[in-house]
């Protein structure tokens, strides 16, 4: 499927112009689509919140970095709490039965004791 046969300078320039226009068109449509999705989502969320009894002035958009800061603070707080809680130490005694396996007494290079 050849869209354009390029043999001359003018055909080449037309080709380049079409190319850049198509790239812009594809991304512009994507931009418009997501601006629309964004608007629909925001208005539907607002409507839902208003229905649930919230006042219009109470609905504010929280920035992502604020959410990250709150999450981080909560995470640090939870970790701290955990550290204070676990201060009980348990010492477990493990009995080992005697085994001659790899015992040095049975080594081949026992030196003669004088």
């Amino acid at each position: 499927m050849i869209l354009l046969k390029i043999n001359t300078w003018s055909e080449l320039l037309v080709g380049a112009a079409i190319g850049i226009l198509v790239v812009f068109a594809a991304l512009t449509i994507l931009v418009l689509m997501f601006e629309m999705v964004q608007a629909i989502l925001l208005s539907s969320t607002k409507r839902r919140l208003l229905k649930s009894g919230k006042k219009k002035e109470e609905i504010v958009d929280v920035a992502a970095y604020e959410i990250v800061a709150i999450s981080m603070a909560l995470h640090l707080y939870m970790n701290d709490t955990h550290d204070q809680e676990s201060n009980v130490m348990t010492i477990k005694r493990i009995e080992r039965r005697y085994s001659p396996w790899s015992s040095k007494i049975y080594g081949l290079n026992n030196t003669i004791r004088k």
Binding site: M1, I2, L3, L4, I6, W9, L12, L13, G15, A16, A17, I18, G19, I20, V22, V23, F24, A25, A26, L27, T28, I29, L30, V31, M33, F34, E35, V37, Q38, L41, D61, V62, A63, A64, Y65, I67
Partner: protein, 411 residues
């Protein structure tokens, strides 16, 4: 001293064995000529006998790549495999023994088939998709236009290459270097100009590694001090629905416009859906680690090995390197200028810091990191990384669309 005695003794022993053999060989009996012929044959098959200074130049370039990757930490995941590949591809050999990358049936040739037939790049895109977070792009969709503007570099180089005498197909393959996207460059050149693929791939990856060197002067040249400290509004929180809808809508819209980009965009958006769906974490994990790492190793090594000196060191390769540099400069500059143009139409408070415009070339995430570093240089508290990621990932989509257009126009 004791060691030296042994070394001398060993040398004398070798002489004692080989001197009679060589004397015997010179006397010329049948058995002797058989030995000398075998030795000569062996010698002719060694790299020393096939040596040419072109290979030495390429080996030197390979060592520089490895050095830059390890010592300077410039895109080491690309430069180290490509650099080593250059060494592998430039060991001189006698043809006909299925050794070289261009000899059908050799191991290197089989590994190279992924590059030639163009199935490595879509798999890399699958991995990129499963790693990429499109949140900032979804939160501020207009930044996508910066990714489109930076693709102007591709078409400027396309025109420039034609002026230098390349065929239209070769121009398309060379132009895509301006997209700053290695896999896309390989994908397109394998279809349009396989004979130039080695040079195009090495140029694309080299300039991607050189993004921190090439871009800052252009960014500083095209912006004022006041513009460099513009603070952008923090992006809003993006819902899970939007994140899941993005790959589906993105795929349908972009591939309906440019179906030839489907292998790249299809894999990119599929990888992203695996990541965002939340129910295919195992698949996303494989795509972002095991799969992309395996393909990067094979791609890097074989692209490096494809730079065999006798096929690579040509005038065309030099021209491609020059055009590649020019296209990078144009792409970065146009991105910055387009951000300034957008600012003319945006209200105060919604303005874009033009430093993120250069991130529209798709070298992810290096170009975004450069915007962040240059921005921090002028204001220690102005973090641009998050905002720069939007044009950066839009650049990936834009360059894939541009590759699709060039493919459908020229193949």
């Amino acid at each position: 001293m004791k060691d030296l005695k042994y070394k001398i003794g060993f040398l004398l022993l070798i002489l004692a064995v080989f001197a009679p053999i060589s004397l015997w060989a010179q006397n010329g009996s049948d058995e002797v000529s058989l030995v000398s012929n075998s030795l000569m044959k062996f010698w002719n098959n060694t790299s020393f006998a096939n040596f040419n200074f072109k290979y030495l130049i390429m080996i030197f370039i390979g060592i520089i790549f490895i050095y830059l990757g390890i010592a300077k930490n410039w895109e080491p995941l690309l430069l180290v495999p490509i650099g080593f590949g250059i060494l592998v591809g430039n060991v001189p050999f006698t043809e006909g023994y299925k050794i070289g990358i261009y000899e059908t049936g050799s191991v290197m040739n089989i590994l190279y088939s992924g590059v030639i037939s163009g199935w490595y790049p879509p798999l890399i895109f699958l991995g990129i998709g499963s790693m990429t977070d499109f949140s900032t792009l979804i939160a501020n969709p207009k930044l996508m236009l910066l990714g489109a503007a930076a693709q102007l570099g591709i078409f400027a180089t396309f025109i420039g290459a034609y002026a230098l005498g390349f065929t239209p197909e070769q121009c398309g393959a060379i132009g895509i270097i301006g997209g700053a996207d290695g896999p896309t460059a390989i994908f397109l050149s394998s279809r349009l100009a396989p004979e130039l693929m080695g040079a195009i791939a090495v140029a694309a990856y080299s300039y991607m590694a050189l993004v921190p060197v090439i871009q800052p002067p252009i960014m500083k040249l095209l912006t004022t001090n006041k513009e460099r400290v513009i603070r952008m509004k923090p992006p809003r929180q993006v819902t899970k629905f939007e994140k899941i809808a993005f790959p589906v809508i993105g795929l349908l819209l972009t591939t309906f416009i440019s179906p030839s980009a489907m292998p790249l965009l299809g894999m990119l958006f599929f990888g992203n859906l695996l990541k965002e769906s939340g129910v295919t974490e195992r698949l996303a994990e494989t795509a972002r680690f095991a799969l992309i790492n395996t393909i990067t190793i094979l791609l890097g090594l074989t692209v490096g090995a494809s730079t065999q000196a006798d096929k690579f060191l040509t005038l065309n390769s030099m021209l491609i390197f020059g055009l590649g540099a020019a296209s990078f400069v144009v792409a970065s500059g146009v991105g910055v200028l387009f951000a300034k143009l957008m600012n003319l139409f945006l209200k105060e408070g919604n303005k874009i810091n033009p430093l993120i415009g250069s991130a529209g070339v798709s070298a992810v995430p290096d170009a975004a990191r450069v915007s962040q570093e240059v921005g921090l240089h002028y204001d220690k508290t102005n973090h641009l990384l998050m905002h720069a990621m939007a044009p950066n990932v839009a650049g990936v989509i834009g360059s894939a669309v541009a590759a699709g257009i060039l493919l459908s126009m020229l193949s």
